[in-house]
């Protein structure tokens, strides 16, 4: 084996060691990903309009399709009267 080969292999080994120490570990990469995705993205969810319209439609259908008795049961209860000390 020539001196040049020895030097090349030595350099390859050291570069490999440097690269291994330089790369993010799996844990570091995951911590970084979590730090990013836990921030609130700017802007609205792209699906916000579809979601809102879906909720509105469901409410309208529910309110108009039920019989009177069932609709009455869905109305909020009247607040209870505050009882006095007597």
């Amino acid at each position: 084996m020539s001196d040049q080969q020895l030097r090349d292999e030595d350099l390859d080994g050291l570069l490999g060691e440097w690269a291994a120490r330089s790369r993010l570990t799996a844990g570091e990469a995951e911590a970084l990903r979590l730090a990013v995705v836990r921030t609130r993205p700017a802007g609205l969810d792209p699906a916000w309009w579809a979601t809102l319209m879906g909720q509105v439609s469901a409410t309208v259908i529910q309110a108009t399709a039920l019989p009177d008795g069932a609709r009455a049961a869905l109305r909020p209860l009247r607040p209870l009267a505050v009882l006095g000390p007597g």
Binding site: W18, T39, A42
Partner: protein, 177 residues
């Protein structure tokens, strides 16, 4: 953000992150010559990707990579230069010592740490264009054609730069041992 749209966005982001993070990190390491700065900038790059999904979602993978690297290039121009000199003074040996596996011969480990520190100093002294090519190849695991495509250079130029970087490092290690 919640709901199916949000889940799709996060899934796309995770894919982008997994596919590109190693190469982007290697690029940033090459440009800055400093691990901590490269890591901070990597987080900033992907924070921008997370906050601006419309900029890259729906693009083919090669254009997604181009978008991420364009962000990285712009960030590194703005941010890194002020911090590198201070960070470069940090002891590489100190960091390396913390990575020693249990049970390894301390003397051999110390010698290896010393040689890696010497190599790291030599890498920092390389001209930036050589350091970027070397880092993308060795740390990022990209071949010379992939490096050439990323940097917009002919593959032959990349191979020449790699060879030049190795010659300079071998000379520095020879002089330092």
């Amino acid at each position: 953000m919640s709901g199916p749209g949000a889940r799709d966005a996060e899934r796309d982001f995770d894919r982008l992150y997994e596919e590109q993070r190693r190469a982007v990190h290697a690029f940033l390491l090459g440009r800055t010559g400093d691990r901590e700065t490269a890591r901070d900038l990597l987080q900033e790059v992907f924070l921008r990707a997370w906050r601006h999904p419309d900029s890259w979602r729906g693009l083919p993978p090669d254009r997604q990579r181009a978008w991420v690297f364009a962000v990285a290039r712009n960030l590194v121009i703005d941010v890194h230069r002020g911090r590198v000199s201070a960070d470069a003074a940090r002891s590489a040996l100190e960091r390396a010592a913390a990575t020693a596996p249990p049970g390894e011969d301390p003397a051999a480990r110390a010698e290896l740490n010393e040689r890696v520190a010497l190599l790291e100093r030599a890498i920092r002294r390389l001209p930036e264009r050589l350091r970027v090519v070397l880092s993308l190849h060795v740390v990022g695991g990209l071949n010379s054609s992939e490096v050439a495509e990323l940097l917009g250079e002919p593959p032959g130029t990349v191979r020449y730069h790699l060879s030049q970087a190795r010659r300079e490092l071998a000379a520095a290690l020879g002089a330092g041992s």
